[in-house]
């Protein structure tokens, strides 16, 4: 069962306060960080007191000079957040675009790994290929449905924020498409875009040899494991009361806000 170490999620009251459980450089208000939803398969694994198998899909990079890769960080962060639980994180790169066949590959990987939870960082390859967004949404939705149909939980992570694409309409719509699918299928979503956008507004004395955008990217990658972990642990805690009560409370958001807008607070990325 989920665990003692986390403070109860105090949702609405401190909506805009920074999430203090995160490392200082990764702190973002909860509303910009996640949308929560039920994670039944992970819960089942916890109940059976067996290790939780996590499949991490997407880029596995960790930022320049990071001491460990994202999957390792994810495992560490999950085990720190839930100290009584053992997590086994497998990671796979997913070549190709969701809009043209990567979903097929995902199925093969999922069948091979047989995880309890898939953490899918989605959209980068599709954005780079500028695939048709409707095709993308449809294919993503289908893949998410497929994973869920096999009683496997899934958490989506939307694409990175980078200032050079802040004004790119296509890219923003791509981020929105991921949010839309997460909402429709009631799966937890890590708002990587909004979180990084928020982080980009905060000044920092940390420099990066390749410039500001690369520093942010680095930071975003370093924080992603923590951010994903937060969304997962809170989703586990949050759906607890709802599990016995109404099932209608799926996809409760950490704060009621328009999912169509990737971000509400900071005006621009600069």
């Amino acid at each position: 069962m989920p665990t003692p170490s986390l403070p109860a999620p105090s949702l609405p009251a401190v909506a805009e306060a920074l999430d203090q459980t995160l490392s200082p450089e990764c702190r973002v208000p909860g509303s910009k960080l996640y949308t929560l939803a039920k994670l039944d398969a992970v819960k089942a694994a916890l109940k059976q007191k067996r290790p939780v198998r996590v499949l991490s899909i997407g880029s596995s990079s960790a930022g320049l000079g990071a001491s460990s890769s994202y999957p390792v960080k994810l495992e560490t962060a999950l085990e720190t957040a839930l100290p009584n639980v053992q997590f086994e994180v497998e990671s796979r790169a997913l070549p190709g675009e969701v809009a043209s066949g990567a979903g097929e590959r995902l199925r093969t990987i999922v069948a091979e790994v047989e995880p309890d939870l898939v953490v899918w960082q989605v959209g980068t390859n599709d954005a780079l290929a500028r695939v048709d967004l409707d095709t993308f949404s449809e294919a993503l939705d289908e893949s998410v449905k497929w994973v869920m149909s096999h009683d496997i939980d899934i958490v989506l992570i939307d694409p990175v924020f980078t200032a050079s694409l802040a004004e790119d309409d296509y890219y923003t719509r791509m981020v929105r498409a991921v949010q839309e699918v997460a909402r429709r299928e009631a799966v937890p979503l890590v708002h990587r875009y909004a979180a990084m956008r928020y982080l980009s507004t905060r000044s920092s004395d940390e420099a990066h040899m390749l410039g500001r955008h690369f520093r942010l990217n680095d930071l975003g990658l370093r924080c992603m494991a923590e951010h994903a972990t937060r969304a997962i642990t809170l989703s586990l805690l949050q759906s607890d009361p709802a599990a016995t009560g109404t099932a209608g409370g799926r996809a409760a958001t950490s704060e009621s806000r328009d999912p169509g807008k990737p971000q509400t607070g900071a005006p621009t990325g600069n």
């Binding site: 990079s61 069948a111 955008h213 990658l221």
Partner: protein
């Protein structure tokens, strides 16, 4: 230089298809044959590689060349392919990094598995050299390196006993499917995108098909008789592809990979469909070649220089992806990048042949005087 022929022609078709399919999202993608079947151009490419190994290891009179010559020839080819892979990987990574810097856009660093290199160059550099770190779309040549490296075994064993060769190849294929054997990726987790333990079968089938069709007119006649079966398989494949009907890997019985349409392991479904394609299209070149002279010459030219064309194609399709990304794509951009790419592929083929003609000409004995007229001086 070889005249246009069916093998080079189809290899050219495979190269053009791979080039177009490696620019995901582009307009022409939906018009390549890969969209209308279970197998795709990769199968064709590997099968034809096996076929040409059969041709290359025999003299003009059809007699097998000496064993040592075969081993050295294939070893030298392995070195060439390996060198090509290392070169295009270096260029691709530099293109990705350069593009990210120029556009001030770190997203590009995450392009299809490149992020691993930029995050962890120390381990990944080793992985690139030992072929266990592969970028998306740059994963065919590592397979090819392994296949050409084992090709001497295929050829020499094939000369001793073809049934033995086939039995060995099928056994390895079957065992890899059942036990899910594959070459590992490193430093990233996972396995090779093209599993050499499975794909070797296609190379062997290509090799044996060439050998057999050369010797036995009865088998050739049988292959002709099976054209309708091939057509039926092609139609079935098209229907399944268009309706997106495929087995769910979670529901497939064990051994799972036997029943799914998995590209990595060249699942039987893909293999059968590909054999159907070979049967269905075996006579097509002979029928169309007289009517499409320039096209046949163009595609055969690409096919004759497949390694150079493939390498250039990989880099051009990467460049095309960046152009599409930065401009936002659209039909005009797609026509331009694909059109330019095809021209550049044709130029590559021509250039390679021009380069290899130049120095060789003086070395030909005087009776080759007409051929060497283009470069008369020593």
């Amino acid at each position: 230089m070889r005249e246009p022929n069916a093998i080079d022609f189809w290899r050219g078709v495979a190269l053009v298809t791979i080039f177009i399919n490696h620019i995901p999202g582009n307009f022409f993608e939906r018009y390549t044959f890969s969209q209308y079947g279970i197998s795709d151009a990769a199968e064709l490419f590997v099968f034809l590689a096996g076929w040409s190994i059969g041709l290359a290891t025999r003299g003009r009179d059809g007699k097998p060349e000496p064993r040592l010559t075969t081993v050295l020839r294939l070893l030298s080819r392995t070195v060439e392919v390996y060198r090509a892979q290392i070169t295009i990987m270096a260029l691709a990574l530099a293109m990705i990094a350069g593009c990210a810097l120029y556009l001030d856009n770190p997203l590009i660093l995450e392009w299809h598995n490149a992020g691993g290199f930029f995050a962890d160059p120390i381990q990944t550099m080793v992985g690139i050299v030992v072929l266990t770190h592969q970028l998306g779309f740059f994963n065919i040549l590592p397979l090819y390196v392994v296949l050409i490296a084992i090709a001497p075994i295929v050829v020499l064993l094939g000369r001793v006993s073809r049934p033995l060769l086939l039995a060995g190849s099928f056994s390895l294929y079957g065992a890899s499917l059942v036990f899910e054997w594959n070459f590992p990726s490193w430093p990233g987790e996972g396995d090779w995108f093209f599993n050499p333990l499975c794909w070797q079968l296609l190379l062997v089938l290509g090799f044996v098909s060439n050998e057999v069709s050369r010797e036995s007119s009865r088998l050739r006649a049988w292959a002709r008789r099976l054209i309708p079966l091939g057509c039926a398989l092609v139609i079935l494949g098209a229907v399944l592809a268009v309706l997106e009907l495929r087995p769910d890997p979670m529901l497939a019985p064990e051994p799972r990979l036997v029943f799914t349409f998995d590209k990595t392991y060249l699942s039987p479904g893909r293999l059968i469909h590909f054999c159907g394609m070979v049967l269905a299209f075996q006579a097509v070149y002979g029928l169309i070649a007289p009517h499409v002279g320039p096209l046949a010459r163009f595609l055969s030219g690409l096919g004759r220089n497949s390694l150079a064309v493939f390498s250039m194609g990989s880099l051009l399709s990467l460049a095309a992806q960046f152009v599409r990304f930065q401009t936002g794509g659209g039909i005009i951009v797609d026509v331009s990048v694909v059109g330019f790419g095809l021209f550049a592929l044709g130029f590559t083929a021509w250039f390679v042949e021009w380069r290899s003609r130049k120095p060789r000409a003086p070395r030909t004995p005087p009776d080759g005087g007409v051929a060497s007229a283009a470069s008369p001086r020593a």
